[in-house]
Amino acid sequence: MIFRVFLLLLMAGPLWAVEPGEILDDPVLESRARDISKGLRCLICRNESIDESDAGLARDLRLLVRERIVDGDSDEEVVAFVVERYGEYVLLNPRRNGINLALWAAPPILLLAGLAAAGVFVVRRRRSAWPDALTAPERARLAELMDE
């Protein structure tokens, strides 16, 4: 992130599918616009963010995002504005609320469950490990054999 800002300061607007004419003059605002664009889906494309897309609709959205930023909206306000118009579907980063909590909780919960299951399995393997500790009669028999 810091690197990107650094780059922006160094050069006049490093961007992806953004046309040179769209770039804002203020590099700080532009980098904010770019970060927001990367999290918004191009609605008519297939799994592309508006930042990557060459589609006209993506361009309109990019310009809209920049317009809102120049008008003084915070990042959250810009995203809220776009979501209000186009629905939650535009967010590439799913919101952490409602049923989506299950999605976000799945990786850590599954990992813990997997580790617990593996732990139980490994401990059981160890318990049954080395059953060759000799029983008393066996030890006696061994001693007998050794004496011979």
Binding site: M1, F6, A17, L103, L111, V122, R125, R126
Partner: protein, 655 residues
């Protein structure tokens, strides 16, 4: 006429597959050796018939026979020959024919090289393999027949999607299919073992080379696809967490887990029922992948041929095979007993952890991929799950895997001592840390992820070296000779692990150090990107075989020395009416200079994008090296001769 021969061969192949499915399975159950013996000739015959069908379709494409509907829809007389051939599988019907051909080829390979398998197991494996063949052949013939003729052939075809007219994409699907379909063999072995109720070291030794082969092809296929996306889509991304990419990544993850757990079964007779489950799930994810790609239910950039009816059929195939196999598993898994025991600190435990991480990672990718569908169907909530989710939830799994990998690799079986592990691996850890510090210093104040990724990658690579070192004993004299004499499977493991490390370094540094520049450039203008000076020498119109091109010429100079001349293009394919961008890339070991030319601007000049992509080629080189490791391992004497397996099999019969 040739088309009809192909069509006829296809239908005959379905009939042969039906016989190959029923007779050997019944024969193995009743111990009728004559019925069991049908399996091998049927497998060879099925493969031969499908080869004839495939050759006939290829002939139609090569000769541009526009009386065939498929050729009209996907070819054109002006298309270069290589894309006429690759056009055979650059569409839904042809790619499903390729799928069936590969499925039958794997069956034929089992028939040819399965001489050392016990008769019953071989018959059952081929029978199960044929049942998959029956499902896909009937899918092909009844919903997606490639040999349908047109009543009135047009003068010329509608051309192949220009994005697919590319050498990288020409060979991406065959490799990917070899991987997907190769996992069907592991599946057949698993189901056959469940029917027999016997899983032992010998079984694992037979399953491993097939899984290894499938994994190898999948690795190369995924790398080819990622490389293609990198240079063709015009912004130099290499992975997008697109549903279709995930569809190939899930079976890859599960097959990696399967390779490692099968090693435990082979060496230690533990983790048996888990390994069988993985073998079933690996192919299950392949089927789900086929469903996702072919139905287009999850919209993505790859869904160039989709149809709901086909989607339902594929979903049914997935449901029947997974449901059936898992039901069988639930009934029989209890009977599979693992005898091997091991301590908490042992290679077995490390591989269990490896399997947990890989399996959960695959599950996470799966959940993220189908979440939009589930949320909409069940909760009426239309959401997207994009790269931010996958990056946040998947990356920790791979970091953990990289962290434990070298430790697990130097651990002995059964019981390990921490002191010896530390002795074997401390130098690798110190070395990796040193490299990471160096990376941190030359990239001051940028991002922590770069050095962390480089640490993990170097740790994996140096860990592989430590593994090799430990494997060749303590004596220094004659180490080289001993290294040369190591089994190729050991070399394969070391090389594949090192390849993973190389890929990890490539990804980390590309993400950390990429330089981007977008601007309007006029002819003769010079500008800089990173340490490079770029001059736009000129823009000209060029006529290609089946496209018009606008080609720019850039001179790339660094410190006064000419580095390269780059010619990025914008192409228009008039028949398909689709424009594409052709990036120009100067490939290097430590960086790529990547240029794309955009629209001409109103005030004169051209929109130009320039990227300096450090270590980009390491990503795919690493994948190729991983594949090479797989190939080395596959050539191991143990798999070729399988002498131990034969002895083992005889013991089993004797029991």
């Amino acid at each position: 006429m040739i088309i009809e021969i192909g069509h006829f061969a296809l239908i005959l192949a379905l009939a042969v597959a039906c016989l190959q499915m029923v007779l050997p399975l019944v024969g193995a159950h009743r111990r009728w050796s004559a019925w069991m013996a049908v399996a091998e000739p049927a497998a060879l015959m099925q493969a031969a018939l499908l080869a004839v069908a495939f050759a006939a379709l290829t002939y139609a494409f090569v000769t541009s026979d526009f009386s065939v509907r498929l050729v009209t829809a996907n070819s054109h007389t002006l298309k270069p020959m290589i894309y006429k051939v690759s056009g055979v599988w650059g569409n839904h019907e042809g790619s499903m024919l390729l799928w069936c051909l590969i499925l039958a080829l794997f069956g034929a390979l089992v028939a040819l090289f399965g001489g050392n398998l016990p008769g019953g197991l071989r018959a059952r494996v081929l029978g199960v393999q044929a049942s998959v063949g029956v499902a896909f052949l009937s899918f092909l013939i009844f919903t997606s027949n490639p040999f349908i003729r047109l009543d009135v052939p047009p003068m010329n075809g509608r051309d192949l999607n220009p994005l697919l007219q590319d050498p990288g994409l020409a060979f991406h699907p065959p490799f990917l299919y070899l991987g997907y379909v190769g996992l069907s063999t592991s599946f057949s072995f698993a189901v056959a073992a469940l029917i027999e109720g016997r899983v032992d070291a010998a079984w694992a030794r037979w399953v491993r080379p097939w899984t290894l082969l499938a994994w190898l092809m999948l690795t190369v296929g995924i790398a080819l696809g990622s490389w293609w996306a990198y240079y063709e889509l015009g912004w130099g991304g290499f992975w997008f967490w697109d549903p279709v990419e995930n569809a190939s990544f899930m079976p890859w993850l599960v097959s990696v887990a399967l390779l490692h757990s099968a090693a435990v079964v082979e060496k230690r007779e533990a983790l048996k029922s888990w390994t069988v489950l993985l073998a079933i799930l690996a192919f299950g994810f392949s089927l789900i992948g086929a469903f996702i790609v072919r139905s287009g239910v999850l919209t993505s950039v790859h869904a160039f041929a989709n149809d709901p009816e086909r989607g339902v059929y594929l979903l049914a195939i997935t449901g029947v095979f997974m449901g059936g196999a898992l039901l069988l598993y639930s009934m029989r898994a209890g009977a599979i007993q693992s005898v091997g025991v091991f301590g908490t600190v042992s290679r077995e435990s490390a591989l269990v952890l490896n399997n947990v991480l890989l399996a959960v990672a695959a599950l996470v990718v799966f959940i993220g991929t189908i979440w939009p569908l589930a949320a909409e169907l069940v909760f009426a909530r239309k959401v997207s799950v994009g790269p931010p989710f996958f990056e946040a939830s998947f990356t920790p799994f791979f970091m953990a895997l990289a962290l434990i990998l070298p430790i697990g690799a130097v651990m002995p079986w059964k019981r390990a001592r921490l002191g010896r592990i530390v002795r074997a691996a401390w130098l690798a850890a110190v070395g990796a840390f040193g490299i990471a510090v160096f990376i941190w210093m030359i990239g001051t104040g940028r991002t922590i992820l770069g050095p962390v990724g480089v640490f993990l990658g170097s740790w994996v690579i140096l860990g592989a070296v430590a593994d090799l070192w430990a494997r060749t004993g303590r004596e220094h004299s004659g180490r080289l000779r001993r290294a040369v004499r190591l089994p190729r499977a050991d070399w394969g493991r070391v090389v594949a692990h090192a390849g993973l490390g190389i890929t990890m370094i490539g990804i980390s540094l590309l993400l950390a150090w990429e330089v981007e520049d977008i601007r309007i450039a006029r002819e003769g203008e010079t500008f800089s990107a990173g340490p490079y000076e770029l001059t736009l020498d000129g823009v000209e119109e060029v006529q290609g075989p089946n496209y018009h091109s606008t080609m720019a010429e850039f001179r790339v100079v660094r410190d006064g020395r000419a580095v390269a001349v780059l010619r990025p293009e914008r192409r228009i394919y008039p028949v398909a009416g689709i424009p594409t961008t052709e990036a120009a890339i100067d490939n290097g070991v430590f960086r790529d200079v990547y240029m794309v030319i955009g629209e001409p601007q109103d005030g004169g000049g051209w929109a130009v994008r320039t990227y300096i992509k450090p270590f980009a080629n390491w990503i795919w080189s690493g994948a190729v090296i991983m594949g090479l490791g797989g190939a080395l391992s596959l050539s191991d004497r143990r798999f070729r001769v399988a002498a131990g397996a034969r002895r083992r099999a005889m013991q089993l019969v004797a029991r």
